[in-house]
Symmetry: C2
Subunit: 152 residues, 2 copies
């Protein structure tokens, strides 16, 4: 587990109350990964939601299906942002891979345990889902800009 | 207002109970727009969430900022799907425009009224936000595929 105070510093978690932060801190672990680590893999079960504390992460998409693998850069994650958002969105499968471009320090939240907490607390569920939707919309905006530029 | 039964037929609303469907039906209107109508405009306040009943809608993005206007196709909406998802996601501003490629029939839900309902009912708020997050993730997946193809 980690300190609830660590979570409280980040916008993604600031709307939560003390009990909610404590409950999430209990199912979270701090980890350090070396540069180049594939942190999550496209098309695998989304078992964790991850908050990036330090470093930089690239989101990479294979292009969909064999014979079409392009490994396109489709986004990047800065400290304070989350990745692995599919851990909270059905069908709970990662839609891209994430790779550490430098050494990273992260907080990994157990996805199944977090979903169980949300089942018990509708306010927590709403607060987290609202933040997840914001994070996904931000990525959609970024990807749209890149797509428009690629087609220009 | 519309009939709650109309909403119940669509996956986006099926997880809601009778009272929740009734409340949303009361703040919804059915509309028909001719082919070519710009249904929502990028960078304007997201005042409505819209369920497409009949027809076909293109999502178009200007490319971001003056001098870079490319009007790229960044998605499309099929009957049974929603657009205007930004009506439920801060900062409540549309991130793309939507255009009717044929005559369309839609249900428009008042965004401010819907957010007020969600403030009063955390379970409704969670259910809708979960469905919104799913819809946005689907669009992100589509946009990633297009981006990877454009860069291949």
């Amino acid at each position: 587990m980690i300190s609830p105070e660590l979570l409280r510093r980040y916008p993604f978690f600031t709307s939560l109350n003390d009990d909610q932060l404590k409950a999430i801190a209990m199912i979270s672990e701090e980890r350090i990964y070396p540069k180049g680590t594939v942190l999550i893999k496209e098309n695998t079960p989304a078992a964790k939601l991850v908050l990036l504390l330090e470093g930089d992460v690239d989101l990479i998409f294979s292009g969909g299906g064999e014979g079409a693998v392009v490994n396109a850069l489709v986004g990047s994650i800065a400290p304070g942002e989350v990745y692995g958002v599919s851990a909270l969105i059905e069908p709970f499968t990662f839609i891209s891979s994430a790779k550490a471009t430098v050494q990273v320090k992260v907080v990994e939240v157990d996805g199944a345990a977090l979903r169980a907490l949300m089942d018990l607390d509708a306010r927590l569920a709403f607060a987290l889902m609202r933040n997840i939707a914001m994070a996904v919309l931000e990525r959609l905006k970024y990807t749209q800009v890149e797509l428009a530029a690629a087609r220009a």
